[in-house]
Homo-oligomer: 95 residues x 2
């Protein structure tokens, strides 16, 4: 399963949790977070803590693997339009 966004990660966590017949409460206790946290992460919370995410994955026996992208597609010719970065910056300025 490729992970590209917090939402995808959340979906993976939810599917796996359900496959293991765990409800949110017991899952939360098992990894040392609140049930609220589980809900938000499963819904794709982008600002969740990295450490807690890794604990959650571990608790569900999910392995994370990092590898170099086969097709960069981000060639030196492309000006690189980073929508995420732009949106994040824009939100900051407004607030």
């Amino acid at each position: 399963m490729l992970i590209r966004s917090p939402a995808e990660l959340g979906a993976i966590l939810r599917d796996r949790r359900r496959k293991l017949k765990l409800d949110q409460s017991t899952f939360a206790k098992r990894i040392g977070v609140s049930r609220q946290w589980v809900i938000e992460v499963e819904h794709g919370h982008a600002r969740a803590e990295l450490g807690l995410i890794l604990r959650a994955l571990d608790a569900l026996d999910i392995r994370l693997d990092a590898s170099i992208e086969p097709a960069p597609a981000r060639g030196a010719t492309r000006p690189a339009v980073d929508i995420n970065a732009i949106v994040a910056k824009a939100r900051k300025k407004k607030a």
Copy 2:
């Protein structure tokens, strides 16, 4: 590359950034974060935001893959001693 902890993730990010000949400043600008953030994450900051981490990985053409652990090793017979969770809870109580 297997990712088990924020520190391992940080090392991977740093190695890849250096391979691409990027310094922390330009890398930070490229993903829309501060240079401080890059420093902390590369040092294994556990509470970094998930969304920013994913952006950083993407900027370095690193793909994240999730797969079920071949050997659970976390059988139903094990009482499950979650050191991470215990430590996290202990820190909360003290503070």
